[in-house]
Subunit: 295 residues, 2 copies
């Protein structure tokens, strides 16, 4: 490539997603000329340096974004307002700002007010990640074949949107656009609610009498282990997601609770046709998922 | 082996578990001299024959158990009372009866009253299985390294218990003994409740507005897919499990519901320390699981 996509790209927050972007970019040389890494945690920053994830390293996010033509916020979404305020005075004209947050209405709410007028902001959310965290959890192929959802506002600069799409394409991801509100509802049911449930059921098991708890651990292979894999995810990241997508999450939780109560009631009263009907509907959805995956 | 463990073993119900036992036994020749297979479904029985899963095939369970020194019930637990009644007159003296049902108090309740006095009954529950079903879903190594829980009554013949333990050891499983009541509580939380939740959340997603539902399928990789894998499981098997372990299941569901409501309330009121505490507890449990697996 004659011209890099970004001359100087700053990654703010070098956790699991930030480090995966950094490693992914190493596999497509020429996409980014200089990769700048910033993290307020000295431990994370030192680890990133040790792993040679970038070209330059800054504890201060303001210093990191100076002169950059691209900035990606990769910290927990609860920190976005503070970071946006901190970096705003240092953003170069023409710089494109993006992020990887799992909640998109809150990101617009927290970031946009701080930005210089006309600065392009292209919120993004890669649907990828494992239950591991930190710069040492980076995976260069994490985004290969995965979706990255973009939620730019209608008036967003199309050229800026295309550059962020190109960045994710370079990392192997497919992109799709939707409104922030729609994103937040879809992700509430496919990701946020499953995490809330997984975190909860681990606690429920932990509260059981000692003898039972021991055996929960021992015999967890029967569903519990798969079911709770996502419960090992990062506490601060997930605390921020829950709080910042509470409307959609609580609506989905409320729908789920009603359905679960109805299911439990059917079990109590031996309503076999209700139970079979619900199980058959579930299987149909699972089949659709498998069909889509195979397509 | 000079002497087989069972001269004539009858598997009643050739679904996913029955066919996995049959295939597993083919890998340890000499353990069972003659394997008899019975299924009231002509389609399943024909398939079992075509796959050469056994040595003899009977639609009628009574005919299948005649002359057998071992019988394993592998049908959904809701059918156990009917099957026990049907086979009881045909059971040979000295025959050992076992099963693979996921609920153990109900199995004792439904089977024991039909048995001839003194006939050894050793209930068992292998903690293994996939979301697939039917005789073609059999896996010869399904039980390798997995647990099989035995819940014999205190007065059970120790020699019969040892034979069933040896059968599961031949299939590669580790065995543990516990009371039926304790089994039902442990399995309610590690398996039955996760299934109820997975079945429910698929339905909740299916009830969403069309546009959202489409995208739930498209973007399911973000947790939902893993989380709902078990929701593809067999409807009749799971209907029977829920109904036959309702006391333990409803108690665990009730505990889980309280905990989930408390979590949702913390999200609504921005109770970040509660949320972080719950997530940290979950991670600890997940870590224990990983430690046990590595041990």
């Amino acid at each position: 490539m004659a011209e890099p996509l970004f001359k100087r790209l700053a990654i703010i927050g070098i956790g699991h997603i930030g480090s995966s972007i950094a490693l992914g970019l190493q596999a497509v040389p020429g996409t980014v000329a200089t990769l700048v890494i910033s993290d307020t945690s000295p431990v994370h920053l030192a680890k990133a340096k040790e792993l040679r994830l970038g070209d330059e390293y800054f504890a201060d996010p303001g210093a990191a974004v100076a002169g950059a033509d691209g900035v990606i916020l990769c910290t927990p979404v609860g920190s976005f307002a503070t970071i946006a305020e901190a970096i705003a005075p240092h953003l170069a004209p023409g710089c494109i700002l993006s992020d990887v947050g799992s909640t998109k209405q809150s990101v617009l709410r927290d970031v946009s007010p701080h930005l210089p007028p006309g600065m392009p902001f292209v919120p993004a959310h890669p649907l990828a990640g494992t239950e591991f965290s930190g710069p040492e959890a980076g995976l260069g192929d994490l985004f290969q074949g995965r979706w990255c959802l973009l939620t730019p506002e209608p008036e967003a600069d199309p050229a800026a949107v295309r550059k962020i799409e190109a960045l994710w394409a370079a990392l192997g991801a497919r992109t799709a656009k939707m409104t922030p509100a729609h994103h937040d509802r879809v992700i509430a049911i496919v990701s946020h609610l499953p995490h809330l449930i997984a975190f909860t059921i681990c606690g429920t098991a932990d509260d059981l009498a000692d003898e039972t708890r021991e055996e929960v651990l021992q015999f967890a292979a029967s569903g519990f282990r798969d079911f709770t894999r996502i419960a090992a995810s990062d506490p601060v990241m997930w605390r921020d997601i829950f709080i910042n997508n509470k409307d959609a999450l609580l609506e989905m939780f409320s729908r789920f609770s009603e359905d679960a109560q109805a299911f439990a009631r059917a079990v109590r009263w031996n309503d076999t046709s209700y139970i079979e009907d619900r199980i058959n509907r579930s299987r149909k959805i699972r089949k659709s998922l498998i069909d889509i995956k195979q397509a």
